[in-house]
Every structure is written in C-alpha cells, then in structure tokens.
Amino acid sequence: MAKDKVKNEAVTESTEIDYAAKAKRNKPGSLPYIWRHIRQNPLAMGSLVIIIALFILSFLSPYIMKYSFSKISMRDQYALPNSEHLLGCDEVGRDILSRILYGAKYTMSIGFASTAISAAIGIVLGAVAGYFGGWVDGLIMRFLDIFQSFPGILLAILISTVLGPGFEKVILALGVSGAPGYARMMRASILTVRGSEYIEAAQSINCSTARIIRKHIIPNAISPLIIQIAQGIAAAGLMASALSFLGFGVQAPTPEWGSMLSSARNFIRDYPHMCIFPGIFIMITVLAYNLVGDAIRDALDPRLRD
C-alpha cells in the first residue's frame, strides 16, 4: 500500500512538472515560440529566408557581383537576359541584377524604418486617445482627421517636397504620413479591450492602472497592429517605390527599385525586361513581408493556435 502511494505521488508530480514545462514552451508571444511557429509554417519560413537573403545579398553585392551597379557599358545597352547579364541591362548598359540587389537594402529598409516611425507615433497617440478618452481623444482624433483628409500618397509627396528628396527624408515623409492609420487602429483596439469584463475583473482584484495597461490591455490590443505593421512594411516599401517613381524619392544613380521602374517605363514596349524584373522583386518582397507578418500574428494570439 505504502509503496503504491509513493509511486502514485511520483507519477502526479512528474505530470505536474510536465504541464508546467510544456506551458512554458508553448507560451505564445515568447521569442522561441514565435520562432517555432514560423518554422512550422513553410510559407512564412520561405518568406523569411527570402527577406534575409535579399538583405545579405544587398550588402554583399559590391563584392560578389561581376558588374558594379553603376558601371555603364554602351555595348550592352538594352541587353536582354543572357549568360553574362542574367537579368539583362538597362538603357545605359548597367547590369540589372546588380542594380536590383544593390537597391534592395534601400527599398527594404525604407519600409522598415518608415513603418517603425509610423507605428511608434501611431501607437502612442492611439493608446493615449483610447485610454484617456474625453477631450484628449477628441483633440487627437480631430487632428488626425485633418491629416487623413489628404490621400496618403499626396501627403507623402507634400512632405517630401518640403523636405526635399533623399533617403532619410523619404523615410520621414512616409513615417509621418503613415502614422494616423496606426493611431486609429490602436485607439479602436484599446476601446474594445477597455470595455471588456476582464478589465473590470482586474480592477476588482486590485490591479493598478499601470499593471492593467501592461498586462491586460496592451497584450490584447496589440494583435491587429502586428499584422498591420507587417503589411505596413510592405506598403511603405511600395510607397517608397511610388515616390521614387514620381521623382520625389531616392535619387539616381542610387538604384532604388521604384526609380528603376520609373526610368524603365519609357522603354516598356521594346524592352519590358527592364520593368518586369524590378517589379517582380517588389512583388516578392511585399508578399514575403505579409506572410511573415501573418505568421507572427498567429504566434502571438493564443486563440489562433492550432
């Protein structure tokens, strides 16, 4: 009898440890958990590999590419893809693959940096408006209304015109013009969470305001923003390309993808490869950012777990 009892206890104890350890491993939101989640999702994993590879290749491109991104060779003008120039050459005979790889870091980091600025401004404004409400909310939201009454691209053009063209200025212009969207989303999200009964429950067990915001509101309000941010990186990259295309963005001879498209469009009838390749790279990058964003969102939300 006594032996049995000891044995039983040992069993329950080991199962207990098991549950706790398992829970720890499965804690949504922890970095290892997000990583595991992405790894299980082949699409997201592939996308992540593409993003990282593009970045690495972009920085290595001056050393590994046969041709410099700015090397002009009139002999290769308009060259179609061939064994020397894998993706062909542009109107002054510069190797398109070299230019795309070199330009990757610009297009992709504009997306990152400007989204970081937008999200930071937007989350703070939205959180303040949503949590405090009243006249603070009114003031912030009316200000954003005015801001948002301009179409996004127009606002970005306006800011770039004021600041002038250039890599950092494009980031700033896109960052500021993107902020209202995040603010609105954060506010809406916080309002929903703030009215939940579990916030009231937290108050009833003596949770401080700071703890309620940190432990109960933010974790529940943030998930729509994660996906928005992931898509925002892609959208901001597109927008940067659009700005360059219109001549407000990163200036020649820096081979930003949008400006490559912009200059290639004059030759689209006769030499479409000059447009197609930068376009394909823009598309792939946008898609990859979106897919990774989806996976991270899923990993953060315990309700979406399989």
Binding site: E16, A23, N26, G29, S196, E197, N206, C207, P219, R303
Partner: protein
C-alpha cells in the same frame, strides 16, 4: 445571526446627454453573514449596477454601505484595497471575464500575487489549492480560456473571486450564460463554497427557479427601485406587490391541470432617464391611482416582508 452587509438609501445615477439615468434609486437592504440574497428583476432594472456599486467597482452617487458595521461608502486608496479583498464579484459571461492572453493558472494567481501576502512557493501552492478547490483538472492548469467550455471558465472566475477568502461575493448572473446541465454544477459549487468559506452572496439573476433554489432572501427590483423584499419562501408563497405577482405568474408550469393564471402587463417600461417621482411601475400597474405618483416608501407589511406600494393592503385584503 449577525449582519454582514447593510446598504442604506443607495443611489447610482449616470449622467448621459439625454438626462440622468437613475439606475439604482434609493435601495435599502441588509444581508446576514453566510446567507444569500437573490436580486431579481428584468433586464436593465439596475440589479447588476447595484451589485457593482456595492463592491466599489463604481462609485455610488448617494447613500451608505456598511460592511461588518463599518462605513465603507467613501474610502481612500489603501482602504479600497482592503475593501476589495473582502468583497469580490463573479461575472456573468465567463467568455469575456477572463483575459484571453493569460493561462488559467496566471488568472487565478493574479489576485494572490497582488495581495503581497505570499512568497513565491506559497503562491504556487495556493494557486494549485484553489484550482483543486473549484475542480479544474490538472491538464487544464496551463490552458487558455478559449480552450475550455463555459462551465470550466466560470470555475476559474469563481476561483479568482474567492482567492483571498472574501467575506462577501456578488454573483452577477453567474450561470445565465451556461448550459442548463452546467448551471447545476456551478450552483452546487457556489453553495459548497458558501458552506466551506462562510461566504455571503448577492445573487443577481433573472432566472426565478435558480434564485428560489439558492437564496435565503429575495429582493425584487423594477427600474432601479426596490419593489419587494422578504425571505424566499414567503415571496413565492405570498407575493404582495403587483409587479412581483406578475413576475411570478410568468414562471412556466408543467402541471396542465393547475396552470397558473398569467398576469399580462400592459404598457411599456417607463424610462429610467429623469423619471417622475413615485412608483415607476404605476404606469403598468392595474391598481394604480393618483397617489402612486407621489413619494414611495418601503413598508413592513409583515415581519421581514417589505413592500413599496402605497396600496399593498387594499390590493391584498390585509
């Protein structure tokens, strides 16, 4: 029996753009230690607001609340912390009252953590004890709310409420969101806990059969006003207020030979926004006379049986 909670002339008004909502208007009652008071009334009559105001989830507009003879109506921050440890709430909807990002264990652990009474080891032991007490199986300890059914979630809500051994718990329709089969389990759990922990309940509900089963006294509300209060048996045997009569006649009967005659109320519910003085039920009351639109007082018709109706004696031939 000693009195645990006394509420005197409690009022809770909400200012809105269209006027002031008199959600709780001049409510007075006492509850004895270890007893359950059922709070019944139709949707929107202020029963949940009353419960929440009593435990200081909302500030009261006027009136007094005494716990154990001590006036706790106005308290500062430190006192509020102590009051909240003594008075807890179980919410209606177990789906929205648990943080979806926290494991059940963390949810139950939180009040213990916040009390600052336990060291790390005690914290874990106490959490496990609570989870066993409300009957949550070990394999669910680290689950998230969405992975469980309503009954188990409500058990978590109960564990959170009783974690710090409160004296008094407001049960805000704790079973109305659950399946009937689960309702009985949760009610039994609540009653067991009441015995073990000497708990005192306010049981808010609109389900009359549930309230009959669980409460010692019943308080009937209509549009923020208290209509009738008395011991449970007395209320079901001998309702005196016309509204209570109509309410009880609405309980479906399975006995086809002895169908209770349903009293159908005519007219619409009057608004609780800036209401006229007097009895708010008067507009739908078949016995209403002009006097009903003057001040309303609670009269003790029989020992322990209070009714707020000017014509209660005439109506009931007392």
């Amino acid at each position: 029996m000693s009195e645990l909670l006394r509420v005197e002339h409690l009022k809770k008004y909400f200012p809105t753009p269209r006027g002031t909502v008199h959600a709780v208007d001049d409510i007075t009652f006492t509850i004895e230690k270890g007893k359950t008071m059922g709070l019944v009334g139709e949707s929107g009559c202020g029963k949940s607001t009353l419960g929440r105001t009593v435990i200081h989830l909302q500030d009261s507009t006027d009136g007094k609340i005494f716990l154990d003879g001590k006036d706790i109506t106005k308290v500062d921050k430190n006192e509020l912390k102590a009051v909240r440890e003594k008075m807890q709430i179980i919410f209606q909807d177990p789906y929205s009252s648990l943080n979806p990002r926290m494991t059940l264990r963390d949810t139950i652990k939180e009040p213990l953590e916040l009390s600052g009474r336990f060291n790390k080891e005690q914290l874990e032991d106490e959490t496990t004890r609570l989870m066993d007490l409300v009957g949550i199986e070990k394999r669910f300890h680290y689950s998230y709310p969405h992975e469980l059914d309503g009954g188990r979630r409500q058990r978590v809500g109960i564990a959170r409420a009783i974690a710090l051994h409160p004296e008094f718990v407001v049960c805000d329709e704790p079973v109305s969101a659950l399946d009937v089969s689960i309702q009985a389990q949760i009610l039994n759990l609540l009653m067991d806990l009441q015995d073990q922990e000497q708990l005192t309940y306010i049981f808010v509900t609109h389900d009359l059969s549930v309230v009959r089963h669980i409460s010692d006294t019943i308080c009937v509300m209509y549009l923020g006003q208290m209509v009738e209060t008395c011991p449970t048996d007395e209320l079901f045997k001998n309702p005196l207020h016309p509204y209570t009569k109509a309410l009880l006649s609405a309980i479906p009967s399975v006995d086809i030979h002895n169908r209770s005659k349903r009293i159908q109320l005519k007219g619409e519910i009057t608004s609780a926004i800036d209401p006229k003085p007097g009895c708010r039920f008067a507009q739908r009351c078949p016995y209403a006379k002009e006097d009903c639109y003057r001040d309303l007082t609670l009269t003790e018709v029989r020992p322990g049986h209070f009714v707020s109706c000017a014509y209660v004696k005439e109506i009931n031939n007392l």
